[in-house]
Chain length 356, copies 2
């Protein structure tokens, strides 16, 4: 599924075309610089690796210190909630969108702490949110169909949602944002996420299905069966957009587009938990190399997240057992990313300190 | 070693007398509030626990969001470097003090990133630093004696260094700092740290001795023997100040005083790596209950740190394989502490969102 794909003209196709290679030379220059700074070589551990990664992504050594982070929170609903995969009613998605624009959700608190803008995008909420101010009204359709019974959406819907995500990233970059953070909201969205991860990593569906934000054993067994059925159907599809349409979600597609466009712009993309990991696995299938422009913010306790991160070769920065989504885990990691860049800017060398 | 101890009058004795209990009611109130906020209960994982801990430490729910963090970097030298436990020359300690006040060290970069003040304190550097501006000149003695051959210092020295640390914390709190971060510099100080951890946790010295900032196998075997000899001698001492004097260090004693005084002032103390853990194990022996006022910033890869943290019942927030010290790991955790408090302030409740 990693051959040369053709996408309809639009922001997503533009982003895929613009993706460049990770800059190994800039990363190597950062490694050399780290060895000259006033500390034992390697003593800043993974912060040093992260600095090298930022240099490779941004093609600069030292990499710029990101000072204008932005979180995009894509909201979408899922027909599969009718099949009983979550104890939460679908209406929570719309309520939480109101909460995001009012500033009262967890992502608002964490974004405020790190000085990040929060951009709320309705890409697929089931309710009519047109009257809510402060939301980007980009609804592709009012929620997906139930993926237990058939395709979650058409490939045209998937392409449209990919374009929404890519255009949101491009606009944030054009506005001067230099660190993009993935966020989302969608009651039921751990189910399509598990299905996407199983399909793209070719992993047993049971091994990637988790308990989301809290379900009992009976619902869990049912959810695993729903994911298994969806993945069995997805495995008959031959291209990644079809897989995404068959078992994905609108906010998942938008996130995939968002990540690809951020990476294409060479702005580091900080990836949140299992939903974002599912989107990134999808993005990597659509636009190979995307993962090299991403940083994993935190380790979600959902088993699918660990499978996806291993598949992508990413190691998360934080592991605090967050299982909320919205972008909260990635947001917590923003200062670590900034610190990794700052070390390469601010620290003196042994030479400067008068030592050889 | 946890009986009622008497200390000479001074800032440390005052701090020990002022330590109050952790406020279980405020912590419980934070737990109740977390259940009302617009997220599934428990979904912010360890960030929720941390918020409850901050409420218990500060006796307030919601706990204040710390906005004025300060790192105190205590510098001291160690006679034991003459016995070959580190490849670094002792003169690096003084050079790094110059680097700290010039702003070129790792701790400066990381403190700048989180808006923390850096307070540099010479409590026991072997060189004369009087001409260096920007340093608190509180030198108790010009480095310890070689702890392989006899006591590292007198109990009077240890008391004096405890007082230095306690007075630095009290002054920072009086200046309005609301989050204290432990920092240190001292070539060779993983050796006394290992000895203190082994002595106070009654652990096999070999199990707590690590490779510091990078030593070879031969030096490592020698270091373990040095620690073993020191611990054997320390085990004959009957009170914790004597243990500290026998196998400790001046910056370690100052850190212990600093932590106790911060906790006494009910200001959260964010603890760095293995050196800080050794100081906290010492502080807990001197003033039982101190650990309840502390937050472990990061997990040092030194084996002694893990032994000490288990003994203290603390779980670190970050694990990025940092092994530099200076306060770098704890500094990286500052925004997480701020975020944990902010969530309890900023988030809406389900009631406010119109849901019961």
């Amino acid at each position: 599924m990693t051959g040369s794909l053709i996408f309809p003209p639009g922001p997503f196709a533009d982003a895929v075309a613009a993706i460049g290679p990770f800059d190994d030379e800039a990363a190597a220059a950062a490694r050399v610089r780290h060895a000259q700074l006033t500390k034992p070589a390697g003593s800043l551990g993974r912060l040093e690796e992260l600095g090298c990664t930022l240099a490779g992504i941004t093609r600069r050594c030292p990499p710029p210190i990101p000072t204008r982070p932005a979180v995009a929170v894509f909201a979408g609903d899922h027909g599969v909630v009718a099949s009983g995969v979550t104890p939460w009613p679908q209406s929570i998605t719309a309520l939480m969108v109101s909460n995001f624009v009012a500033g009262g959700a967890a992502i608002n608190a964490l974004a405020r702490q790190v000085g990040a803008r929060v951009e709320v995008v309705d890409v697929g909420v089931a309710a009519d949110l047109d009257s809510i101010a402060g939301v980007q009204h980009r609804n592709v359709r009012r929620g997906t169909a139930d993926l237990l019974l058939g395709p979650a959406m058409t490939t045209a819907d998937a392409h449209a949602a990919l374009d929404v995500g890519a255009s949101v990233a491009a606009a944030l970059v054009a506005d001067g944002h230099d660190l993009l953070v993935t966020g989302e909201m969608g009651i039921g969205n751990t189910t399509p996420s598990a299905a996407l991860i199983a399909a793209f990593t070719r992993t047993d569906p049971e091994a990637v299905t988790g308990r989301g934000t809290g379900i009992d054993d009976v619902m869990f067994a049912h959810k695993a069966k729903v994911v298994g059925n969806a993945v069995a159907r997805a495995s008959t599809r031959t291209d990644p957009v079809s897989v995404l349409a068959e078992v994905g979600g609108l906010e998942l597609a938008a996130l995939a587009g968002f990540v690809v466009a951020g990476v294409a712009a060479r702005v580091p993309v900080l990836v949140d938990g299992v939903i974002a990991c599912a989107a990134l696995v999808t993005a990597e299938a659509l636009a190979p190399g995307t993962r090299r422009g991403c940083i994993a913010g935190h380790r979600s306790p959902e088993p699918g997240a660990t499978v996806a991160l291993a598949h992508l070769g990413l190691e998360p920065l934080i592991d605090l057992q967050l299982r909320l989504g919205e972008g909260t885990g990635a947001c917590l990691a923003v200062p670590i990313v900034q610190a990794a860049a700052r070390v390469l800017h601010d620290m003196a060398t042994f030479d400067e300190l008068g030592m050889q």
